[in-house]
């Protein structure tokens, strides 16, 4: 006997959760199966929709012949991307025709973001407008994004209040002074200074962000002083570090920290620091391992539970069985060596792209791992990429192709199976890294795939 449900979602990230919730809200009985803990913990926690429209044509024709392996002969030239975009929706028409936003339409993105707002509740901001917000990232640049954690709100780059950026020597993600310098160079409309303070030095150098968060959550004593107080005391002497253009000294009105200000009790930690410092406190989203990503993961899995979705992580989907009519009947879940069939009336594939490992590649080709679906790719692998690392890399758009209902297409452009839908990074057509569109594509494809799978399953 197979483990059955109306809709089976394969994957554990933003797209998988979105489609599972969307399907459940259509009345379907939904199960989600993910191989590993969600990779949301590697995500910044920002929800990008569309920040840039990158050029898909080089400024001059590409040189013929094999790659140059970095030798500087006749380099590619690519125009700068269009952006940062103020409004992601109005730019969708300028994306390539095969982009998921073009295939599904702008409403899919809008509805996906609405669903996210509903699930994230008061933990996220940005839902009041269609327009992008600009947030400083730990690289010292400013990024256009559609939704952002409440913890990052006071850090908006469009805000003109003088700002202090705090760093710790033992946390190597950024150097606070260099960070402040980069923001100034980027032309932000506020005065900014960076300061490195002694606090993290009470811990050993390779202490994990989760340890700092826990110490602040519980306000553990650091050398006899409660952690929150100790941190505020370390920052205090720098509150007048900002010097304005006229050489005057401003008291800062907001203070930015690496994103480690508590986990379960982050709001409490920020409020206390803010109180002690007399300035707003914000977190700067970081790369992995990311506490904002972990917090989002917790929140979304709680939402899955509340929506009645069954879920399990730990075992991969390794194959499919089809029925006589050509639809997929069961998938095989590898439970530590034994394959167990999981049946459903419709399936959503949301296993991620090349980084998420939904796609696999070697010298022979690029494959979709779980269902063995077609991934469009040039036969000659020298055509998978172009010389310029920041150019329009064909591999960045690899993935399965879908129709307007999210069904996966075969080489002839017709659905491969009538009950298999795809969402998120496994769907090709977007260059998420250059466009800053990864979360938006997950939300848009997720909501369409989830709804259509539910319709297919319950019709």
């Amino acid at each position: 006997m197979a483990i059955d449900s109306d809709v089976l979602v394969v994957g554990g990230g933003l797209a998988a959760i979105t489609s599972a919730v969307a399907a459940a809200r259509e009345g379907a009985d939904v199960r989600l199966v993910a191989h590993k803990s969600s990779t949301l913990r590697q995500a910044s926690g920002l929800i990008d929709a569309l920040g840039y429209v990158p050029a898909t044509e080089p400024a001059k024709p590409l040189r013929e012949g094999p790659p140059t392996a970095g030798r500087k002969l006749d380099r590619d030239e690519w125009p700068d991307p269009e952006g940062p975009l103020a409004d992601p929706f109005e730019a969708i028409d300028r994306l390539p025709e095969t982009h998921p936003y073009r295939v599904l339409g702008a409403d899919a993105l809008r509805e996906g973001l609405e669903l996210f707002d509903d699930l994230a509740g008061d933990a996220y901001r940005g839902g009041h407008t269609d327009r992008n917000a600009l947030l400083p990232t730990y690289g010292g640049s400013v990024k256009p994004t559609a939704r952002y954690p409440a913890a990052a709100e006071a850090g908006l780059a469009s805000d003109d209040r003088p700002t202090l950026i705090i760093g710790f020597r033992s946390i190597t993600e950024y150097d606070a002074r260099a960070f402040a310098g980069r923001l100034e160079a980027a032309g932000v409309p506020f005065d900014v200074a960076g300061a490195e303070v002694e606090f993290a030095e009470a811990f050993r150098a390779d202490t994990k962000v989760t340890r700092f968060a826990k110490a602040l959550d519980h306000d553990e004593a650091i050398d006899g002083v409660p952690a929150r107080e100790a941190l505020a005391k370390a920052v205090g002497p720098h509150l007048h570090d900002v010097v304005d253009e006229a050489g005057g000294v401003d008291r800062v009105e907001r203070v930015g920290f690496p994103a480690l200000l508590g986990d379960d009790r982050g709001d409490e930690v920020r409020a206390e620091l803010s109180d002690r410092l007399g300035a707003d406190v914000f977190e700067i989203p970081m790369g992995p391992p990311s506490l904002p990503g972990l917090r989002l993961e917790d929140r979304l899995y709680d939402a899955l539970d509340a929506e009645g979705v069954r879920f399990e992580t730990g075992n991969p989907v390794v194959g499919i069985e089809t029925a006589a009519n050509g639809s997929v009947e069961t998938v095989a879940v590898d439970r530590k060596g034994r394959e167990t069939p999981y049946g459903a009336d419709a399936f959503v594939l949301a296993t991620g792209g090349l980084v998420g490992k939904g796609l696999d590649s070697d010298r022979d080709g690029v494959r979709e791992r779980a269902f063995g679906l077609r991934v469009e790719q040039p036969a000659d692998r020298y055509e998978w990429f172009v010389d310029d690392a920041f150019g329009d890399q064909p591999y960045a758009r690899f993935g399965v192709r879908i129709d307007g209902d999210g069904r996966v297409l075969d080489a002839d452009g017709v659905p491969e199976y009538d009950n298999v839908f795809a969402a998120g990074g496994v769907v090709g057509g977007a260059d998420a890294a250059r466009e800053k569109s990864a979360s938006g594509v997950s939300l848009a494809t997720g909501i369409v795939a989830g709804r259509q799978a539910a319709t297919e399953a319950t019709q």
């Binding site: 994990k208 989760t210 069954r310 879920f311 992580t313 022979d364």
Partner: protein, 506 residues
């Protein structure tokens, strides 16, 4: 250059593993079969097994081979007695001449995303613990040169194995930790030290439990003598604040013998019950519930001779002990499998050990079969029976809310939500998941005096969530998580099989 050959013994370059395998020419690619989707080639699934040479050493702590002391009976359908174990009958293949496990591909698969570190419950409370990324791939690389000792911090790893589940790249982290810990204990730990003796005692719980079970009342009374646990702390370093679990007056195996073994026979529906030590000596009610529930569903239950699953031994680096027990277990379970049975464990650490650690660490004839045929008790019923249909419309006589904690080892098998989902539709049952934190005890870890505080700090989140939950009865599949839950909250703790027994009226 010597190329890697198919039979895997072509490693003429010494202990560095098949260098040719990651080859730079097309030759390396052509023979690569399509990898199983979702399971990178570098994952544990393709790892050759370690061979820990069993030099025939018979430890003083070896339990009496005759299982008669614990009411030992043969399985319902026979099964050989473990005393007949003949090491010569085995054909261990020593893949790596130095007894060294080749983990290179696992180390190569790590791209340092640090997801494992964020999943580590020890690193979250103890900044002195460098985390699973160091203990695994980084330490493995460091010791390639041969002149590096294993860092002592490996003994602070609790072997919860959450890092395995967190790694998006299928790096065999727990396998690396087990190997490093085994090496540390073998070559760096003073065998006469209090710590070694204490760890050996903790990991050989079965031996002491089997003795105590002969005189359960006396043993129970002895642990409650005022100062007895404090003495244990002073002499042995066993956490004095813990309450020693009671021994049952009748072990599960004694009960099984008294009832005359299986009450249902069906050669087409057989399961071999791996009860483990705790259900046998301390909580036979879990084992009885397993038998009654499975017989309710028409299964013939076999109870083969068995020893410890090895979980506490892995966690203490006692790989030789673990291997000796594994030989008995594999021999008897393979025989049961040959008679048509699947292997069922009621403890999620036992099932994880048989499924994952056995084939990762040992090369014993039949060990892969055991791994592939092993399931957790509730999992097996959910796969093979219409449990939802059976439970729909059932009602529990007395309404009860439970605070459910998913053991870390259940998480790795995809089982962390099964109890919540199974009992969702039973009238009168409220099953609340108390969150994804670790209980902190991790088997023997929280029993060590120097780890007790860390253990309780890890558990704090679970205790808080349990107290916030509606229920005042705890529920979990893992016996040591249950100890910790009880220790931290004072709640009574049940196993899902006991609730299932009530719900289906078995």
């Amino acid at each position: 250059m010597t190329r890697h050959t198919d039979d895997g013994d072509g490693d003429a370059e010494g202990g560095n593993g098949p260098d040719g395998e990651r080859g730079d020419g097309p030759a390396a690619d052509t023979d690569r079969s399509t990898p199983a989707p979702g399971v990178p080639e570098a994952g544990r699934d393709e790892q050759p097994s370690i061979f820990v040479p069993d030099d025939g050493e018979v430890s003083d702590e070896t339990p009496p081979e005759r299982p008669a002391t614990d009411g030992g009976v043969e399985s319902a359908t026979g099964g050989s007695d473990s005393a007949d174990l003949d090491p010569d009958a085995y054909d261990p293949v020593d893949v790596f001449p130095g007894g060294d496990l080749d983990l290179r591909e696992g180390a190569d698969s790590c791209y340092k995303c640090t997801s494992c570190d964020t999943s580590c419950p020890v690193a979250e409370v103890d900044e002195e613990f460098p985390g699973p990324k160091f203990q695994g791939p980084e330490q493995w690389r460091l010791k390639r040169k041969g002149d590096h000792d294993i860092d002592e911090s490996i003994t602070s790893c609790s072997n919860c194995m959450r890092c395995d589940d967190a790694c998006p790249s299928s790096v065999p982290l727990s396998q690396m930790h087990n190997e490093a810990r085994g090496q540390f204990v073998e070559s760096q730990m003073e065998k006469l030290s209090r710590e070694y003796v204490r760890n050996r005692i903790l990991s050989n719980y079965r031996f002491f439990a089997s003795i105590a079970s002969k005189v359960p009342r006396l043993a129970n009374a002895a642990t409650k003598i005022p100062g007895a646990m404090k003495l244990g702390e002073k002499v042995l370093g066993i956490a004095g604040d813990r309450e020693f679990p009671d021994f049952a007056t009748q072990t599960f195996r004694e009960w099984w013998k008294d009832r005359g073994g299986a009450q249902v026979t069906d050669p087409d529906k057989r399961v071999a019950y791996f009860h483990g030590c705790y259900s046998n000596y301390n909580t036979p009610e879990v084992g009885k519930a397993m038998v009654r529930v499975y017989e309710h569903f028409g299964y013939e239950v076999m109870v083969p001779p068995q020893k410890c699953s090895g979980t506490p031994m892995f966690a203490n680096g006692m790989l030789k002990d673990a291997r000796r027990h594994a030989e008995t277990n594999v021999e008897n379970l393979v025989e049961a499998i040959g008679e048509g049975a699947d292997v069922i464990a009621s403890c999620t650490s036992c099932s994880l050990s048989l499924r994952q650690e056995y084939p990762e660490l040992f090369d014993i004839h039949g060990i892969e079969d055991v791994s592939e045929h092993t399931y957790e008790a509730l999992e097996y019923l959910r796969i093979n029976e219409d449990l939802e249909g059976e439970l729909a419309g059932t009602e529990l006589a007395d309404e009860q809310a439970f605070a459910y904690h998913a053991p870390c080892h259940a998480r790795n098998q995809g089982l962390s939500r099964q109890a919540v989902e199974t009992f969702r539709d039973v009238d009168g049952v409220t099953m609340e998941d108390v969150g994804d934190s670790c209980s902190g005890i991790s088997g023997t870890y929280g029993w060590k005096a120097e780890k007790y505080e860390t253990s309780m700090e890890i558990g704090e989140e679970m205790f808080e969530h349990m107290e916030d939950a509606k229920g005042d009865v705890g529920m979990t599949e893992c016996p040591t998580c249950a100890m910790q839950m009880e220790h931290g909250t004072g709640y009574e703790v049940e196993h899902p099989l006991q609730l299932l027994e009530d719900a289906v009226g078995a």
